[in-house]
Symmetry: C2
Subunit: 906 residues, 2 copies
């Protein structure tokens, strides 16, 4: 049984879809082909034609770029059907059928072959067209356009050579006839029929010269050549790049279909024309008919913008008949598709023909308005509205952007380089290369951009003082990116082409050699990763009223909680305003860098050689931490707050320059050599796998003791103040149950003591002790670990690093190749952004199931960066987590994802 490759459209009678519904045929017909067929079946006016399927394209490539055996026969069969329907014949010398050929993939894809119009014209057929239309000038103009278009687009010959030949002829002949001076412009419209016929001869000669063969006079050869050209354009560099950028896998994309459709002409006088129309306003979402119409023009002319079109609102006055035909189509389309559609149409001598309909692209604001209003109009359900929102729609509502109205030339002239777009939004300010300078400039009232090779916890103050952050190294989950994301602060990382000189306080762009010195302005576009020099204008985001409505629906639908990762009362308050229901991760170490006094104490603690000195230093930190925690508890007002005990290796807290070490030595009155030796001894080959997390607490239990005491004393203080409080003490980096039994035991002991000393019970202050699951061993032995834990929080950043053996700080060197489909194409997405469900996800699921096998009611969440990513959150919902936690600005995305997952599960 041979496969069906060619499908007819334009009839009210549907094609034979081999047992499938037309609505399922998009993967086979492509977007455009399926739209045309659907409009035809719905009775809308569609010029009939046929679609060569994506399967044919797939077979073509599987065959080593040869048509599948029976394709040509099937094309001829459908062509015959079309000729019968139209009462015309391809290549006919009296009334020839003319065809347009267009590509049409499953998803709209720029970079593929453009349209070929007027296919079917030959030396014979052109005469027929002239006779039929009684317009030889029109006929030969169509023919010369076709020769050019077929030569350049279908055959890949030089467009410029054809253009040059045409211009030369026009200047010599028409210009000569009109007596124009050499070089003086001649309009195409000034050419007469004979001259156009002459041009056709010249172009055919050129064609033969370039192609090495005659211009084909057999219209079926033209047709098959055009179909092959569309197939070939599927693997053009531009198309492959587009798919890679848009993360469309080759497999999912299948191939492109080819649509062969009867020509209609919008350029047959003032009762003809072409236009594009959106069924609602794609900018604002307002329920009005929105689009442009150009009298006496083909569709291409509308797109090219050669004349100013009429707005559709104004068309009623100028051509009520066309307007009314369009309004009927509009209403029919919205009724059918239940979504805003983007259409193309042509009017030929007063009669409307629809050439395309597809889901209309829209701004985030319009997305929310359309979704909510369609629910209110009864067109769609709330669930459908929720499912239509994409994470980017939400994200773009919250961030400023570079004013899109500035001239493209300004952007281009100021362009410096591009890095990895870690946190969206835009920022403009003066460049500083260290945290101290950034803070000082901020205090002077300057807008600051902090530029660093990489950031470390020591830079946090400078990052806070900056509008945007730019680093040379690191990926989307590097320190800079994670911290900036928490603050929704524009951030570009991994900008390899930067050559930063701290000594000279300047950066140089490798390649161009452009230099930016400290204090000069740059502008960052965190959404694209682009860096510009100068102070480009930004515009602030606006929030549509429908956002709140829709997010309320989201909260009604979702079944798991959404928490936030937050370290300060300000972050916490922000996150609550974004819909957070608790804190899933408070990183206590960030608090150590807030003031010099704290830094001094932590450094003194680390440099202590005996426990008593360490305890003295910790005693200095206790009141700070207690105050921080009390602030958080107050802000969260009874919501659960998960506090992770100190996690990073101590190396991150000590100064590394000789100068800073000398300062510290003086301050704490120990010899410089002692400081240097201790700092050196903290060096690790692989700090990620080193002495950190709960391993620190095993070595220095007094750190854990201080932190737990601070947490519980803060809880008591807030409780005494009349607010509820629910602290969850989280012990990080556990690999073995025994660690947790030692440290959890100690934590509970201290917690109980603080409660007892203050006359509270665990019922009054219901604290919990649990752990992060971020090491494969912990997940694999989660049944044992759960014996000691009241909750699990999956730290999927580190779990991804260990499960894949992949350092997120170093992967920048090769991971891009791994994600790039044109290179290795190992992963569909960066596993640090979207959870690797196939690999890391197995560990998460094993950990959850084993944990619950011991404790069926074990509370389980996730607090890695993945907690704010759509697909990862859906995964968490599917496997049965209780909550996800993410940075404040991602909370709405997590809420949305949770709701979508709940809808999908039904």
């Amino acid at each position: 049984m041979s496969e069906k490759y060619v499908y007819f459209f334009g009839d009210k009678t549907p094609e034979d879809y081999q047992g499938k519904e037309l609505s399922e045929m998009k993967p086979i017909l492509g977007g455009k082909g399926q739209g045309l067929a659907q409009m035809g079946v719905n009775g809308l006016p569609v010029p009939p034609g046929f679609t060569v399927s994506t399967q044919a394209c797939k077979s073509y490539y599987e065959n080593g770029q040869a048509f599948p055996a029976n394709l040509e026969a099937q094309v001829e069969e459908k062509l015959a059907q079309l000729e019968a329907l139209q009462g015309q014949k391809l290549g006919d010398a009296s009334d020839p059928l003319l065809i347009s050929v267009r590509s049409g993939a499953v998803v709209s894809m720029p970079g593929m072959m453009e349209t070929i119009l007027n296919l079917g014209l030959t030396d014979e057929a052109v005469k027929g067209l002239a006779a039929k239309t009684n317009n030889p000038r029109f006929a030969y103009d169509s023919y010369r356009r076709f020769i050019q278009m077929f030569g350049s687009t279908a055959m890949g010959l030089s467009k410029e050579e054809f253009e040059g030949e045409f211009e030369r002829f026009k200047e010599e002949k028409t210009g000569g006839r009109l007596g124009r001076a050499h070089g003086e412009e001649v309009e195409d419209t000034e050419m007469n029929a004979e001259e156009l016929e002459g041009v056709c001869e010249v172009l055919k000669t050129k064609f033969k010269e370039l192609a090495g063969e005659e211009f084909p006079q057999n219209p079926k050869v033209q047709l098959m050549t055009a179909i092959k050209a569309v197939f070939n354009s599927w693997m053009a560099d531009k198309a492959i790049t587009y798919r890679a950028v848009e993360k469309i896998s080759e497999k999912a994309a299948i191939g492109t279909a080819v649509n062969c459709q009867t020509m209609v002409f919008g350029n047959m006088g003032e009762t003809s024309g072409s236009g594009v129309a959106f069924t609602r306003d794609p900018s604002t979402g307002e329920n009005i008919f929105y689009g442009d119409y150009l009298f006496n023009a083909q569709g291409e002319d509308v797109v090219a913008g050669i004349r100013t079109p009429v707005k559709l609102e104004d068309l009623q006055e100028q051509d009520e008949s066309v307007y009314n035909q369009l309004m009927d189509v509009r209403s029919s389309l919205e009724k059918h598709y239940k979504d805003m559609q983007d259409t193309e149409f042509t009017v030929q001598e007063g009669k409307l023909y629809m050439l395309q309909t597809r889901r209309g692209k829209r701004t985030p604001i319009a997305t929310f308005r359309i979704a909510v209003e369609m629910v209110e109009e009864g067109l769609i359900s709330k669930e459908e509205a929720i499912s239509r929102i994409e994470p980017e729609d939400i994200e773009r509502l919250f961030y400023p952007e570079i004013d899109p109205s500035i001239p493209v030339a300004t952007r281009n002239d100021n362009y410096l380089t591009t890095g990895i777009n870690a946190v969206p939004g835009a920022a403009a300010g003066q460049v500083y290369f260290n945290a101290a300078d950034a803070e000082a400039a901020n205090e002077r009232g300057e807008r600051v951009i902090l530029v660093r090779k990489e950031t470390s916890p020591e830079d946090v103050g400078g990052m806070a003082a900056s509008k945007g952050i730019l680093t040379q190294t690191g990926g989307k989950t590097s320190h800079a990116a994670v911290v900036a994301r928490g603050w929704a602060k524009c951030c570009i990382v991994g900008c390899d082409s930067l050559d930063i000189s701290y000594d000279n306080d300047q950066l140089t762009i490798k390649g161009t050699g452009a230099v930016v010195k400290a204090g000069e302005f740059i502008t960052l576009d965190g959404s694209t990763g682009e860096v510009f020099k100068g102070d480009l204008p930004l515009i602030d985001p606006t929030m549509p009223a429908e956002y709140e409505t829709l997010m309320n629906w989201v909260d009604e639908v979702r079944e798991i909680n959404v928490r936030t990762n937050a370290d300060t009362p300000e972050d916490a308050a922000k996150a609550i305003s974004m819909g957070a229901e608790g804190i899933g991760l408070c990183r206590t170490e960030h608090m150590f860098f807030e003031t010099q006094e704290r830094i001094d104490a932590i450094q003194e603690m680390i440099l202590a050689e005996v426990e008593s000195v360490r305890r003295d230093a910790l005693a200095k930190l206790l009141p700070f931490q207690r105050g921080d925690f009390a602030g958080l508890f107050k802000a969260m007002d009874g919501r659960p707050v998960t506090i992770r005990l100190i996690d990073p290796p101590l190396h991150e807290f000590v100064p590394h320059s000789e100068e800073a070490q000398k300062r510290l030595a003086e301050k704490i009155s120990v010899p410089f050599e002692t400081v240097k030796n201790r700092v050196d001894s903290l060096h690790e080959f692989n700090p990620m796998l080193g002495h950190r997390g709960c391993r620190l607490a095993i070595t220095y239990p007094e750190i854990l003791e201080m932190q737990v005491q601070a947490i519980m004393e803060a809880a008591v203080e807030v409780k005494k103040g009349g607010q509820a409080v629910a602290p969850e003490i989280m012990i990080p980096l556990v690999m073995h149950k025994k660690e947790l039994s030692i440290l959890g035991g100690k934590a509970r002991e201290i917690a109980e003591k603080v409660l007892a000393d203050n006359g509270f019970t665990k019922e009054e202050i219901p604290y919990m002790v649990g752990t992060m699951i971020e090491i494969p061993r912990a997940a694999l032995t989660a049944d044992q670990v759960a014996e000691e834990a009241e909750f699990f929080s999956f730290g999927t950043n580190d779990l991804t690093q260990t499960c894949m053996g992949l350092s997120r700080d170093d992967a920048g060197r090769f991971l891009p190749d791994y994600v790039d489909e044109k290179k290795a194409g190992v992963f569909g997405a960066d596993p640090f952004q979207s959870l690797d469900q196939e690999g890391v996800g197995q560990l998460v699921e094993i950990g959850l199931q084993k944990g619950r096998s011991t404790k069926p009611n074990l509370k389980v969440g996730i607090c890695g960066e993945h907690g704010g990513e759509l697909n990862s959150v859906k995964f968490c919902v599917r496997i049965g987590m209780n909550y996800v936690s993410c940075s404040p600005y991602r909370v709405p995305i997590a809420r949305l994802a949770a709701a979508q997952a709940a809808i999908e599960a039904k």
Copy 2:
């Protein structure tokens, strides 16, 4: 129902063991107690008594160091039984029962309480003893010894104070009586009964002064106090340390039993005596009766070596009756235990009493000889013989050691410090602090010890030139340890107390300040980790004839193959002589450091900025690699050879000092800045998780291409020479099937081309392409990975690092605490030495099962350090691997482990 805590022994009628066999009672009775009970039941002459069980000790600690409720009653009951049997009463004024009290844990454990003899003597009982023996001098001497022993051992009073009091009395009274000068020595034997009675009074006064209470005149109080003292000694520091060092977990050890036994006296004249006897010679294993006998002495005197004892061989002449009694016992014991026994005995007035029997410790040579001869004698089966061999028995056969006959004082005087004992054996030589100096010294004919902070592949030449290696950092699986182990070269790592100054070419021992300069001698004991100054004498190992016999049995029994990790033909030949059946891991990168020419080429390759330059450099390496591989294939003569493609991050291959970078820049004619920048750009935060393994080949496929070509051309060359060859190309660090499909595909393509070009088929040169499973993700998705692999080799070094999130180079800072039972005690053993079966083992099993689910005949092995460790190898056998691979000197251990596992499985 109250638990039974006290068990009688010494009767032919067995005790009521509550449904258990006596042979199962060792955990409850301890080793000594069970031995005594067994000898009693077997009809050997044992002074009767009773054992207080280990369970009583356990309850004692669970009770907060208080006796379980009914213990005292049970002791009284058994005491009554003993008194009835002996017809004597404890504390009796006419014929008192005297008791010895000894600890007896499940495994022999130094550091616990010593024996208390003569318990039961009081002011009353001593008169009875004097009357009964008609020997008041003997009675009072026994009493004064008991007071001293009870005071110091059971009560913990100062031994020196008692000793001083005794000496003072002796000098004053006895010395005075005999007219000795002040300070002139007086023998104990010169004291008369009256004087000894006087001594008892003085010692009791001293006892009261030190203890704050009277010396107890109630013998039952003495008894219960002594039992408590034994229990307390279980948690003495020395005992805890011993258990930690010997890796005896608290749980497995349970507690100690206490043996209370009727006293017998070897010091009752010339028909009495005491001795120790081994049923065979524990040094040579020869089947002779071996031991010492001391006339008229207690057992303690034999051990203390106060007089020269008679050898047992010579006893027949001196006391045939005793000799014959002993020979009967010897034969009875060997018949029962089917192993060489180590016994203690006492002869009281011509009658033999057995006080102890236990498995005799023996030298490795004796271990083999005894095991083999017992098989030949029909005492045990071959399987039993195999099961008795321990890895250390084999290891110690192969390594030189410091001459054990040198005086202890010499060792002590020369002691410098102790590090981690990475590779056993001993080495003495002159110290050098860098590879170049070490090589130069070796060429001058010096014996060299290389001392480094840590080693890297650049140091391999210097390591090869050295007799032993000492490093400041790193653990047992650090670079230094792994390389040294491969060469069976004495190695001590992680020697924290070293302060090495490369600038001054010397090391200083922290703490003592001792300095060793380049060129001075030191001696390393790799078995203990001790470092000595000077050139201590070493002795070479000898190999018993029975080794070969037993290892042949091992090979008959085992069911899986044993391969070796080897990089050179020399290693390969050595490994074959040790029984290796193939190479499981050849690390190609070690070959890159063999000559300057190679180093130059690899560095040029790395510094290349364009592919063509890289290819040129690789072309220079090709002939070297081909030659290396051909050498290996020839040495292995048709056995399979697994070759791992380049694995370490490129950073390890380039020079890091400015000086060396300048040299290189000059050599390859590029600016110094270029070299420096490239080296800097190779720096990684976590190189273990960075750009290495197959990730390098994804980025630079030309490296893989060169290596595969070299492997296959070498195979062709050897095949043409008439030898069979079976190369297995191993692609390291795979995390995703796709990596293997890209790189495996490329490797197969090149392999097929080389074969075709040389006219060979895959049947003639049966090469395979497979992968290392060393990343959790690869194990978790092994069903997919197996689609692309012909074999799996588990790299459990890296798998342990990633599964546990534990850098082996950094773990030295905290892992010791994790393994130390007195500290955190998280792991029973260092997971880098003994596979963490509970955690990492899960991944190995998942990987194997998933791999076989796709390919049922998938060949699976292990090539991490664990492949030569007893328990890890047994695990590999249990889960069904095809082979294990380890360093050459561990091959016999792996063979043994495989055989033991096969026996256990039956």
